[in-house]
């Protein structure tokens, strides 16, 4: 790791609602705070076109606008924000934690709050990466109209998968939902709406093994999870909605994770490492909402303030 460029009281890793809220509280407490964000500010919040359930916000504010408001608020209280950077190295073990970005600058702090969020889960099968952007999509509202009159597959069995399958029927001539289990994780209401749609077909207990095609995507190889029988299904496109994975890959192995690779914390958002806290979707919890991320960020910041002042 290079020489330390600058030292802070607290470094927040992640610029979603949890990280920005932590930044607001830390800044207001007059702690020198740096938010390091590998993607765009707002995290998964910017995926939401209209947020109707964030208390106090104007009805149907977009995720991007809410993100920009939170970012502006954090900056008002003195937070420095480094976004669209790559964390290339980190050491969270000592009293002074160190984080290197872009193989260049190294920032140190007495406490770190990990709020790195989650990323849409990919299928991880051959052909998926090759056809990303030319047949494989993770966003129905972005790419749905490229499939006007075409036959497509939706992968997943949660609310997102079924709601997006219904939404995609406004473009596609046929939508086939492929799900690995014999039942859906989605709510009964979402299942009912999808089942009532004549354009939607279902293939249950099956998983995609490969995305097929030479120049263009032509189909998928399926495996029935019960019989292990393989088959080919023709399609023009695939939309993948199989949940999120916590962004913990780049974190040190000494940080305690659960079996789903989410960070384990106590109620004060403390991890097993002294001076390291976690907040938002990256930590082990049941409900993942903007409001719960904001709550986590608040608690993590207040705990970090206690830690530093003690």
């Amino acid at each position: 790791m290079n020489k330390i460029t600058d030292t802070y009281d607290v470094i927040v890793l992640g610029g979603g609602p949890a990280g920005l809220t932590a930044g607001i509280y830390l800044g207001r407490a007059k702690l020198k705070t740096l938010i390091i964000n590998e993607g765009s500010i707002g995290g998964q919040m910017v995926l939401t076109h209209a947020i109707a359930n964030y208390p106090g916000a104007k009805v149907d504010i977009s995720g991007r606008d809410l993100s920009l408001d939170m970012k502006a608020q954090a900056k008002t209280f003195g937070c420095k924000i480094e976004s669209n950077v790559e964390v290339t190295s980190m050491d969270l073990s000592g009293e002074l934690k160190q984080i290197e970005i872009d193989d260049d600058e190294v920032f140190a702090a007495k406490a770190v709050i990990v709020a790195t969020g989650g990323t849409p889960r990919s299928m991880g099968v051959p052909g998926e990466t090759k056809f990303k952007g030319s047949g494989v999509s993770y966003c129905a509202t972005c790419d749905g109209d490229f499939f006007e009159g075409k036959e497509i597959i939706v992968v997943g069995g949660g609310n997102s998968a079924l709601e997006e399958a219904v939404s995609l029927t406004q473009y596609a001539s046929k939508v086939t939902v492929i799900h690995q289990f014999d039942h859906f994780q989605a709510t009964e209401h979402a299942v009912k709406i999808a089942r009532e749609n004549e354009k939607i077909a279902f293939i249950m207990e099956s998983e995609i093994q490969a995305v097929l095609g030479d120049q263009t995507l032509t189909g998928v190889e399926l495996m029935n999870m019960k019989t292990n029988q393989r088959s080919i299904v023709s399609t023009d496109g695939i939309f993948v909605f199989i949940g999120y994975v916590a962004n913990t890959v780049a974190l040190p192995g000494s940080l305690a994770l659960n079996s789903r690779n989410e960070i384990v914390t106590d109620a004060a958002m403390m991890t097993n490492l002294d001076g390291v806290f976690a907040a938002g979707d990256v930590r082990e919890k049941r409900y993942r909402q903007i409001t719960t991320a904001v709550s986590d960020g608040t608690i993590a910041a207040l705990s970090a303030i206690d830690f530093i002042q003690s």
Binding site: G39, S40, I41, V46, L47, H49, S62, G63, R64, S83, N84, V85, E86, K132, G133, S134, G135, S137, Y138, C139, T141, C142, D143, F146, F147, Q215, T216, G237
Partner: protein, 113 residues
């Protein structure tokens, strides 16, 4: 017009003028959606570092965006945004769907270094 801090291309004439009067041009053609926003942000971040490159956006749904939508390099593209790299008026690279900062920098370095 897109709500970004980038310079905007708003017509076919504008597009021609931009790529013909600048040696190195990056154009991101998209909407205000989740796959497009990160690319605009990355471009805004890179504007200072890549002073010799001009960065523009273009609204995918504007009629004149056919110059990008129907460009030969867009064949097979089915994910927004469509991002183009022009050198001396010629498209030297094009990508479909979201890109990371690392991927964008690699292409800028490859074609415009």
């Amino acid at each position: 017009m897109l709500n970004t801090n980038l310079k905007h291309i708003t017509s076919e004439a504008d597009f021609k003028q931009v790529i013909e009067s600048n040696e190195k041009v990056m154009v991101c053609c998209g909407r205000m959606g989740p796959m497009c926003l990160p690319v605009y942000d990355i471009m805004e971040d890179l504007e200072e570092k890549y002073e010799s490159v001009v960065f523009y956006d273009m609204a995918f749904d504007s009629p004149d965006a056919h110059v990008i939508r129907n460009h030969p390099k867009s064949a097979g593209f089915m994910g927004l945004p469509f991002t183009y790299y022009f050198k001396n008026g010629e498209a030297v690279e094009a990508t479909s769907s979201i890109q990371s900062k690392k991927q964008v920098k690699e292409l800028l370095d490859k074609h415009f270094a």
